[in-house]
């Protein structure tokens, strides 16, 4: 399974998760886990996604998510899971 971590950081507003999830569904990316916190109106979300059946190239998805983030006023980043595994799991 090819997994990636998607992070969304920014000011909270209506429909952030919906928009991100719609984009992922359109591109055949399955969401395995979501966690989220809001501290002082600041939205912080992380998703673990399965990219095994993705429709597009990783870089393209990354650029489109970044663009989506700009449209809704948050920073969206997608990174392959290995970087976190390698750093935090011995």
């Amino acid at each position: 399974m090819k997994r990636a971590i998607i992070t969304v950081v920014g000011h909270d507003s209506v429909g952030i998760i919906a928009k991100v999830c719609t984009y992922l569904a359109d591109n055949n990316i399955n969401i395995l886990d979501i966690s989220q916190t809001i501290v002082g109106g600041y939205f912080n979300m992380m998703m673990i996604a399965d990219l095994s059946d993705k429709k597009k190239h990783f870089i393209e998805i990354s650029e489109e998510l970044e663009k989506l983030g700009e449209d809704i006023g948050v920073a969206i980043k997608i990174q392959r899971e290995e970087i976190f595994d390698k750093m935090h799991r011995i």
Binding site: T37, F58, K77, Q79, F84, M87, H88
Partner: protein, 454 residues
């Protein structure tokens, strides 16, 4: 499963604390390019480099995008040209021609620097190596991306004082040739003792003759990450201090290991080593000096600096080896002056001198690095400083190096501006008492005895 706080920690390191992979350096052997004809040699060198490294930059960039961690430099190191050009080159101009070929190959592959315009002369110098060394000022003037190094000493063979004397003159001449740009040529020239064969960092990167055909070496960084971690344990005892550095260095290195393995896999080139380094940049918050100050010094250079640096250097290695399968290169904290804002500030307030820096190089990687000195410094004085630094490496069985920049037309109180990663540097005063009679002796300093350690 990875949780939100772990993801946030990693991304804060990248976004707020300047965590990056400092360099992916591809080592390429040029021994199969050796030819007795200069044109054929240059053609072979260009073809081999542009073939082996054609996907290096592209691969680095896609790894960068997929993992979300910056890979600041993609570079190449080659077999020392003093060996490769020995058969073909008959004049200094022939060696300059090879330097220009390396420059063209670097340009074609998109790397920012190519290292290996080098001579290994720790014990003796062939006629061709002497020619290469004499061609360095012109080679560095006429190229942009070529880095040059001269290995003038080793623990096993002593110090080649003839090479050290010559390098004093060559450094000055290189400064003179590039005086319109604050003698920037000297930022691309380093004199080494005990140079490693697998160093990914410039200016001393070269692909040693003990290496295979092609190899990937990776240099990690992250002074800002260590500094931020230490802010949380202010006033704690040494055990806590050391554990914090060690654990953070382990995390930083794990990113380098991941990038190294991934690059090696994608390019189909064997992985060589991770260089466990703390490499600063002029950016605020990316400073080794700031770590020393966080450990408890008002400024770098204050009494206690050498001890604090020794501790830092050792813990970085202890943490790093846990995360890396193969370790090599220069591994340790770098203390360049111009590339570290904290070092520059310490020089400007008068806390840090060349003599203190020299002491610091006994306990860390690598040497007197990126230090601007007055342009009217005598060649013999530069050779004297080189000899001192070579002696430290030779006796302590470690790599040491000197990258001194005599800035032509400038003196103490002035500042040299090199730009980009090379930064800017205040001109530091040099002890002006003469060492002429010492430097002008011919021959070499014998290798030290390897027993009776005191």
């Amino acid at each position: 499963m990875i949780n939100l706080s772990e993801v946030k920690e990693t991304n804060d390191m990248i976004q707020k604390e300047n965590l990056d992979v400092r360099t992916i350096t591809m080592g390429i052997s040029l021994t199969d390019c050796i030819d007795s004809d200069t044109d054929r040699l240059c053609e072979g060198i260009y073809d081999k480099i542009t073939d082996r490294a054609k996907d290096l930059v592209k691969t680095g960039e896609s790894i960068e995008a997929e993992f979300g961690v910056p890979i600041v430099n993609k570079r190449i190191s080659v077999t020392p040209i003093g060996l490769i050009g020995a058969s073909a080159c008959r004049t200094e101009e022939d060696f300059v021609k090879i330097a220009k070929t390396l420059d063209r190959a670097a340009d074609a592959t998109g790397v920012n620097f190519i290292g290996g315009f080098s001579a290994l002369v720790a014990k003796g110098m062939t006629e061709k190596e002497s020619l290469l060394i004499r061609s360095i000022p012109a080679a560095l003037k006429e190229t942009n991306r070529v880095m040059s190094s001269v290995v003038a000493a080793s623990t096993r063979s002593g110090i080649n004082m003839d090479a050290v004397r010559l390098m004093g003159q060559i450094i000055l001449k290189t400064a003179e040739e590039t005086k319109d740009n604050d003698s920037i040529g000297c930022t691309k020239l380093v004199v080494l003792c005990n140079a490693p064969d697998d160093n990914p960092f410039m200016a001393g990167a070269l692909h040693g003759v003990t290496e295979g055909d092609t190899v990937i070496n990776v240099g990690v960084s992250g002074p800002g990450v260590i500094k931020t971690a230490l802010e949380k344990v202010r006033g704690a005892d040494f055990e806590t201090l050391c554990d914090t550095i060690k654990n953070t260095a382990c995390k930083v290195t794990s990113v380098g290991e991941l990038v190294a393995q991934e690059t090696s896999k994608r390019l189909g080139v064997p992985f060589g080593v991770i260089d466990l380094s703390l490499a600063p940049t002029p950016a605020i918050g990316d400073s080794v000096a700031d770590i020393l100050q966080e450990i408890g010094l008002e400024y770098t250079g204050a009494p206690g600096t050498t001890a604090a640096l020794a501790l830092l250097n050792d813990q970085v290695k202890k943490g790093g080896v846990k995360a890396a399968s193969y370790v090599g290169g220069l591994s340790g904290a770098f203390i360049p002056v111009s590339e570290d804002q904290g070092m520059i500030d310490s020089v400007n307030v008068g806390a840090l001198t060349i003599e203190k820096l020299e002491a610091m190089t006994c306990v860390c990687s690598v040497g007197l690095d990126m230090i601007a000195i007055p342009g009217d410094t005598k060649a013999t004085t530069i050779s004297g400083i080189l000899a001192d630094e070579m002696a430290l490496g030779m006796v302590n069985q470690k790599t040491t190096a000197c990258r001194l920049i005599p800035v032509i037309g400038k003196g103490v109180g002035d500042e040299a501006e090199f730009g980009g990663l090379l930064g800017h540097a205040p001109i530091m005063p040099v002890n002006s008492f003469s060492c002429d009679a010492f430097v002008n002796r011919e021959g070499r300093i014998p290798a030290p005895i390897h027993s009776f350690k005191n």
